[in-house]
Symmetry: C3
Subunit: 214 residues, 3 copies
């Protein structure tokens, strides 16, 4: 891989970690049901930012989670959580929009990185695909469950998991066409971002699946 | 082991996986609190079907979960989830009864398989027993928690975990009497099924454990 | 390490496991939302007592959790759970106070033990610190989530996690000053206990972190 490309990936990845932590901390501060203290806000920030990758690594079982081995992950998540703790009460809409964009930009990259890691560990494609989705949506889902509610990605609304799934499918298609992994990763991650942007622009929503006993 | 017996086990096991996925998907569709989309229904189907075995394998830590290594597990769970997604709105009582029976038939087998796997990994009997119960009831419990409620197996009502416990105890008793593992597995799994059938027939319920400060 | 000191540690540790199990079981019996049966009370007792250490070991990934390998952990947790099941309905305030004290005394020791184990596994200090906190507060948090609510340690109120954090910081400071591990462990664990006692005596509470869109 070209070093420059890798550092682009790193920038997007750590922006995504920071965005996850900021989003998690703000979610905790805004919660109506529970009144979180500083430990709660920081804890939920770290879990939102790193929970997906940690869950993936625990499931792959090739040693401790990357987020524990490479201390930059915890430092970025903790730093962003502290920022949200100190300045979160004056969060302006423009900042929330920035957080949304960094999260959207990293969604596809997280999924693709999760798939790569699972494939490198020798897992079959279907398992790798699911581990890619867990990497992308696991942190926010853990936060939701720790806040006493169902994961938002399971509910009707924004096609969040579908954007992650598209990123994974585009990545796997590019890989199977023999593309360089840098290319596959880039097009996969971009596909996820584009779907997120389009769905926000045109208000695409997934429908609820109902039930009716005959 | 006799090959025929093993394929009987496989049939029961994969029927159980399918039943778990169907039950999880229908539970998600019927939920009153949250409105799940297709991703939610499929996600909850897979977690219900495979969550117990995955939790067991993560706790045993001898490599990635069986459900990720052997792709048939994910395919059966995903297939059953898709069936429930496409046809679940017209679920007839007779089909729900079939799902109930496949789940009951696999309950004991799952517990016994979990115990075997834990004993093979060198864990002490008490730990193996608990891992057997986790294999049997962990998937449904994870689904319950992801739906924002306590695991149903912890509440008063159907003696679900007790049936799994009976299966494990009968299996361990047969093992300690020197029975062939095929025999031990069969009698253990059958014991669980018989208790499930009896408790459904006679409406046996576990009582609540109250509290009173003197 | 001096054998006597180690057996002091063991006594405190297993008292802490028993206190966790008793507290978890009583919490389950007193719950207003759900009506738990005996399986539920015992399950929640074991998870409260051992869930923190098990989570730590699953994250460190150096083999099965200590609580499964050394059968004394499960036996103490199960035994205490059974006591709470049989005699819990007549729990006197004096007994609840004893449980509170055993829990407070073990809080610091659990955190320090968690940090030691993570450092021994070669993890960086920041990750070890977080794993120490997870060891101390993870079991109660798992129980809270399994009861359908947010972890109490994330909410404003008793500075529980802060006492664990103080224990870890004092331990790390003593280690970096070149103290014997027995000494570091002792002063760390004592620091946690002292903060718990002081905060109970003077009703110290952590404040909620609010939110306000400008």
């Amino acid at each position: 891989m070209d070093l420059h490309t890798i550092s682009v990936f790193s920038t997007v990845e750590f922006s995504g970690v920071a965005a996850g932590a900021l989003a998690g901390a703000l979610e905790a501060r805004r919660n109506q049901t529970y009144q979180y203290d500083a430990i709660g806000v920081l804890g939920l920030a770290i879990i939102t930012a790193l929970g997906g990758g940690i869950t993936r690594d625990v499931l792959i079982q090739k040693g401790p989670p990357l987020a524990f081995l490479d201390v930059r992950y915890l430092m970025v998540a903790l730093g962003a959580g502290l920022v949200a703790l100190l300045f979160g009460s004056i969060a302006r809409p423009s900042i929330l929009k920035l957080v949304w964009f960094a999260d959207a930009a990293s969604l596809g990259l997280f999924s693709v990185a999760g798939v790569s890691r699972a494939l490198n560990a020798g897992l079959p494609i279907l398992a790798a695909l699911i581990l890619g989705l867990i990497t992308a949506v696991g942190g926010g889902s853990l936060r939701d469950v720790l806040m006493g509610r169902t994961p938002r990605v399971f509910e009707r609304g924004e096609p969040y998991t579908i954007a992650a799934l598209l990123a994974v499918l585009v990545f796997l298609a590019a890989e199977s066409l023999g593309c360089d992994r840098t290319i596959s990763t880039t097009v996969g991650a971009l596909a996820g971002l584009v779907l997120k942007l389009l769905s926000a622009r045109f208000q695409w929503k997934t429908p609820a699946v109902g039930f009716r006993v005959e």
